[in-house]
Symmetry: C2
Subunit: 379 residues, 2 copies
């Protein structure tokens, strides 16, 4: 007698195993394993037969068994260390994740995703994932100039790709002889300094320097000479790159630090608005502000509106990263548009390469382009 109807759902159709396939196809288990993994040692004919039986039974490898027998877990990890408070409006991550998964899911790789409060929790999580054999590798986002993660991951031997820039280790001690940095042939050679030589770590980055140069070309071309950059979190690699680049570009044009400068924030609308107020209160306020994300740009535009400052009449606004947000405000915001999902795809591909034993290299993402809208004009 089986379980009563009501409880029948508890034990549904048993998952087929290679044993079932072997029995059904009249071969050994190892033959099945070979056939299903494209390994030699089985004839074309039996391979085909085994395949069709597997198909018929709807077999899928049990990931636990596969992971246990030394193969890959078929899983990558992504940790987002953000205080809950700053998890506000953020199109960037979902886009990135969706790009990543486009590549991963084609390779049957799952993504373990976790939001944690801070960097320490993130490191602890890497240790745990490693100890639990949960992931084959991880994608490290929000790299920092002083970043403990690459070193930790290297010491664990957990394959990783740094997404979004170059992360420096906490110590400057090299972990091993650095292999040559490979710029892919499709990438334009950067005029800016390439990523600083670092322990060998696969990296996918965007050339923020060039992007910042484009923004400055645009604003300078319109006649702006006093420009403030409302940057994101200090310590993040790309924040620092943008700040450095702004300085370089300003120097090239003979604009000193009183007229062209950066201030840092936590990316939130609150700090974006607050920074804007302080900036506009200055004796000689700027004629243009560059915001490091869309939310702050909108918040900034809102502060201008609140004070009756016409945009772009007396203040031009540029948002770094486009989103629906920039298109629903009035005026619509000029924005640096980048293909975030594409960036995610690139990162995922790079992790696959690392897992395949390709030596760590640095790959450059597509350069963002400036979409000039109504929020920028002559001062």
């Amino acid at each position: 007698m089986t379980a009563p109807g009501g409880a029948a759902r508890r034990k549904p159709a048993r998952r087929p195993t290679i044993k079932d396939i072997a029995r059904r196809a009249g071969v050994s288990e190892s033959a099945v394993s070979f056939a299903l993994n494209d390994r030699p040692g089985v004839s074309q004919e039996t391979r085909a037969r085994i395949r069709s039986v597997a198909q018929e039974l709807g077999w899928q490898a049990n990931s636990a068994a596969r992971a246990l027998s030394g193969e890959r877990a078929g899983c990558a990890g992504l940790v987002l260390a953000r205080p809950a408070r700053t998890l506000g409006v953020e199109s960037f991550f979902l886009q990135l994740v969706s790009g990543i998964q486009e590549v991963f899911s084609a390779h049957k790789i799952a993504l373990l995703f976790q939001v944690v409060e801070d960097l320490d929790s993130e490191c602890a999580l890497y240790r745990r994932w490693w100890a639990e054999c949960r992931v084959d590798g991880v994608l490290v986002v929000d790299p920092r100039t002083q970043d403990p993660r690459p070193q930790l991951l290297a010491s664990l031997g957990l394959p990783a790709v740094v997404v979004g820039g170059v992360a420096g280790p906490e110590t400057t001690e090299p972990l091993a002889a650095a292999p040559p940095v490979v710029e892919p042939s499709t990438a334009q050679p950067s005029t800016a300094q390439p990523p600083i030589a670092q322990p060998p770590f696969a990296t996918v980055w965007a050339d923020d320097s060039k992007a910042m140069a484009r923004v400055l070309d645009h604003l300078y071309g319109l006649g702006h000479r006093r420009i403030v950059h409302v940057a994101g979190m200090p310590g993040l690699a790309h924040t620092e790159r943008r700040i450095d680049s702004l300085r370089t570009e300003a120097d090239r044009r003979g604009l000193d630090e009183r007229h062209v400068r950066s201030v840092t924030t936590d990316y939130s609308d609150a700090e974006g608005a607050e920074a804007t107020r302080r900036i506009l209160d200055a004796a000689e306020p700027p004629t243009a502000i560059i915001y490091d994300n869309d939310v702050m740009a909108v918040a900034g535009a809102s502060v201008a509106a609140e004070r009756g400052i016409p945009v772009p009449g007396r203040l031009s606004i540029v948002a770094w990263d486009d989103s629906p947000l920039c298109r629903v405000t009035h005026p619509r915001l000029t924005a640096l548009v980048r293909d975030t999902a594409g960036f995610g795809r690139l990162a995922a591909q790079e992790l696959l390469a690392v897992l395949d034993g390709v030596p760590p290299r640095t790959v450059q993402g597509e350069l963002p382009h400036l979409e000039a809208r109504e929020s920028t004009g002559a001062p």
Copy 2:
């Protein structure tokens, strides 16, 4: 001779196993297993000793081995079926996920997260995860009125919690005798119809009916008699609940369908703006619009601004779901504020309960409150 220094990173510190612990503590492997899993069969003393050795070695159970030996995978799944196009600005999901993980990570449960294009891919993914033994259970989001997922999950025997409402099966055929719906004692009894009787499925939901009633109280109280609801995607359970509720509330006040009605969209800023234009073009335009998310509300406000329609002077706007967005526009938008992270926590707890064998029940989330800001006033 070991590997040369340069390659030493490849094989880092081997993961400790219970065998290592057993050897070191001078006990058997099973004793270790018992001790570490709080199972009886080992003395307090040895348990403590084993624990300290495990701690010392930094041992963590290999999740693959644990999953393979019939235990839980220690992993839950969450699939987001959204066309990439609509992945725009969406604070809701990251908040929800962060709440979910707050509970899961305390229980050492990882979250497998995947974005797919449509419902079919979502179903395929459930099948695969089930076949691969990847997850112990899943959280089903964006439930629909006609939803194939509960039935699929039931047939697979994959434990699940429906997050955000009641999902109906594709067919009306009951899967089993429905157990009583349990409303938790903390929840206010709903005046609206409770979730329709369905196959026994754990559900976490928010009372959109009551929330809609609150919005209508607010608007009606201000004197609004012509109100349009710019809803989200048709077919989503909560969209339909809100539409139904609007009608009920309007009927109660004797407002007919010419004056109070809903239109559906895909949640995007584009459709939100487009719907707003059509609505304002009507012969007798409404004096208030309720938007089903923050992005559309901002887009709508933007359309009003573009046409020189004063808000709230000639048009009041309410956003369902608050976000920084609603606070950076001018005027700031009146919004229905809900604790999304809290909702995520509730959902996670419910899945844990289901995994622990608690029979499926319906749990109600906190009722959202209306945060009246500057975008609503007397018509």
